[in-house]
């Protein structure tokens, strides 16, 4: 019997035992909220006990709602998170502290270590956000790379390289691959050319500008969280994206050299 089956057995036969088994999960989730400034003024143990009680209260509902599609411990994590959110929304929190302020006061990390830790965490969040954006991801990445003057990667322009394209479009692709636009305006000119070709549209440069502004707003909202855990804005998002592209999606050098050569040959 795998651990998930064993845990499902406990859910039906001995929920108290299951809840004890899941205490590390409760601890981690409560700790995450506390690090973000929630449950301030409350004893951690109070919060945990309250979550445990609510889990016990809702055990029947959990049994009936759980369909076995995900692992039980993942499902429970979602339930525990929602219980914490319920507690927060009931107004038992007096004040929200910013991540930096709270952690500077409570953790024993040096500022450098702390910054690295926070940035790493934010980069991971951003990576997940991009995965969640699914079909919009490709477009967002290509636009932001252009705006940050970061060369596009091979897989990001592959469709364009393989398709029979006009000379002007090839020039735009080469610019994306080099990532050396002189201005945002120039970047939007080339981007609109590329996306009009890919999407079969006749959108203006300004519509691309508006589109990415709205998407950035959505990403900011996701990164900041609800309840709020950070305070990103358009400016800090660009900084985060710049770091993300350099650290988690480094440009492929060989591809850049190869493509530049082929563009020069045209």
């Amino acid at each position: 019997m795998d651990s998930n089956q064993e845990e499902i057995g406990l859910l039906h036969e001995s929920p108290g035992e299951l809840i004890v088994k899941y205490q590390p999960i409760v601890l981690v989730i409560v700790r995450m909220f506390m690090r973000s400034g929630y449950f301030r003024g409350e004893e951690p143990q109070e919060v945990i006990q309250s979550v445990n009680e609510k889990l016990l209260d809702r055990i029947e509902r959990i049994r009936s709602n759980y369909n076995g599609i995900s692992r039980l411990r993942t499902y429970f994590s979602a339930v525990i998170r929602n219980l914490c959110l319920e507690r927060i929304r009931k107004g038992r929190v007096e004040e929200v502290y910013r991540l930096m302020e709270e952690q500077e006061n409570s953790l024993s990390y040096s500022p450098d270590q702390l910054n690295r830790l926070i940035i790493r965490q934010e980069l991971e969040r951003l990576d997940t956000v991009l995965k969640l954006l699914y079909t919009q991801r490709h477009k967002i990445v290509l636009i932001l790379k252009a705006l940050l003057r970061i060369p596009a990667r091979e897989e990001e322009v592959r469709l364009l390289l393989e398709a029979p394209v006009s000379q002007s479009l090839e020039e735009s692709v080469a610019m994306l691959v080099r990532g050396d636009f002189r201005s945002d305006r120039e970047a939007f000119q080339h981007l609109s050319r590329v996306f009009n070709f890919l999407e079969g549209k006749q959108n203006s440069e300004d519509s691309i500008r508006k589109w990415i502004y709205i998407r950035e707003g959505e990403i900011i909202q996701l990164l900041n969280g609800d309840p709020p855990r950070a305070n990103h804005n358009h400016e800090t998002l660009r900084i985060l994206f710049d770091r993300y592209f350099h650290e988690m999606q480094p440009p492929s050098r060989d591809f850049r050299i190869k493509t530049e050569a082929s563009v020069r040959d045209i």
Binding site: G16, P24, Q45, T74, T128
Partner: protein, 277 residues
């Protein structure tokens, strides 16, 4: 995802991804298999900021759980450190399971009883009268109580051999307190039983009903009279004892708005003295 019915189960009545759907999506992202998710689910999340936020937070939580279980206790506030230690101890200890050990141990206890029957009978007979009183006072079924009393003495004997004997001796004044009438009304303690036996490292779980809005004080006392743990609780009906008691006999009392409402004993057995799993 095998069928349309299963797919539908990922959404709630409002058309948003439900808790299990969020869990399912987060698991897929962490396993790098988001491409296998149903198209409709991915499309919904990509265009619904509410559901995207839920999935994002879930992924971050799962990452934290994966990373945090190994490094629990690092970088916490003092309060969190204390909490972490107690909870980790709770779970590391024999998987932190709540057990009524007497069920599992009765076979082993039987062998021990046979082996030491002579001496045991002497001890048992000498305490017979007191135990009979306890049976009456606690209004328990005779057979059930006898089983427990037997086991109490097995524990006592196991402790005695290992130098822990004094920790298993009944405390006369606390026994008197137990024998006193408790205010009950609708209030009832469901767990632990009045004479529960735990294995060293088990979590002691208190669960009660009928406390209403009253403030409840739970006090756990060692057999020598020292308070092991005391906690004031409001609007609760369950409580995990956040400390791991040493082997021995413990008394617990519950006060409701200053009035004694319930009491009992529990025994923590040593893991290495005769009472093996």
């Amino acid at each position: 995802m095998n069928s349309a019915t299963e797919y539908e189960r990922l959404f709630d009545q409002g058309g948003h991804v439900n808790e299990e759907g969020v869990a399912y999506y987060a698991e897929a992202i962490l396993a790098g298999r988001e491409d296998t998710l149903p198209e409709g689910l991915r499309a919904h999340v990509a265009h619904c900021s509410h559901c995207a936020a839920q999935c994002l937070e879930m992924v971050m939580i799962l990452k934290e759980i994966d990373a945090g279980e190994a490094s629990a206790g690092e970088g916490l506030t003092e309060g969190e450190q204390i909490l972490g230690e107690s909870c980790i101890e709770m779970t590391q200890s024999q998987s932190g399971r709540i057990r009524l050990v007497w069920r599992r141990y009765r076979i082993v206890a039987g062998f021990l009883l046979l082996g030491s029957i002579g001496l045991f009978l002497l001890l048992w007979l000498s305490e017979m009268k007191r135990e009979e009183d306890l049976v009456k006072k606690h209004d328990r079924g005779v057979i059930r109580q006898e089983q427990r009393v037997l086991e109490t003495w097995v524990s006592y004997w196991a402790g005695k051999n290992s130098g822990f004997g004094e920790r298993f001796i009944l405390n006369p004044s606390l026994e008197k307190m137990l024998a006193m009438a408790f205010r009950s009304g609708e209030f009832a303690v469901l767990s632990p039983d009045s004479l529960a036996v735990y294995h060293e490292g088990d979590t002691v779980f208190f669960n009660w009903k009928g406390a209403g809005m009253a403030t409840l004080v739970l006090r756990v006392i060692g057999n020598t009279g020292e308070t092991l743990h005391q906690r004031k609780l409001s609007h609760h009906h369950a409580y995990y004892l956040p400390v791991r008691p040493q082997p021995g006999l413990y008394y617990w009392f519950v006060e409701l708005d200053g009035m004694k409402a319930a009491g009992g004993r529990f025994i923590i057995n040593r893991g290495d003295e005769g009472m093996q799993h």
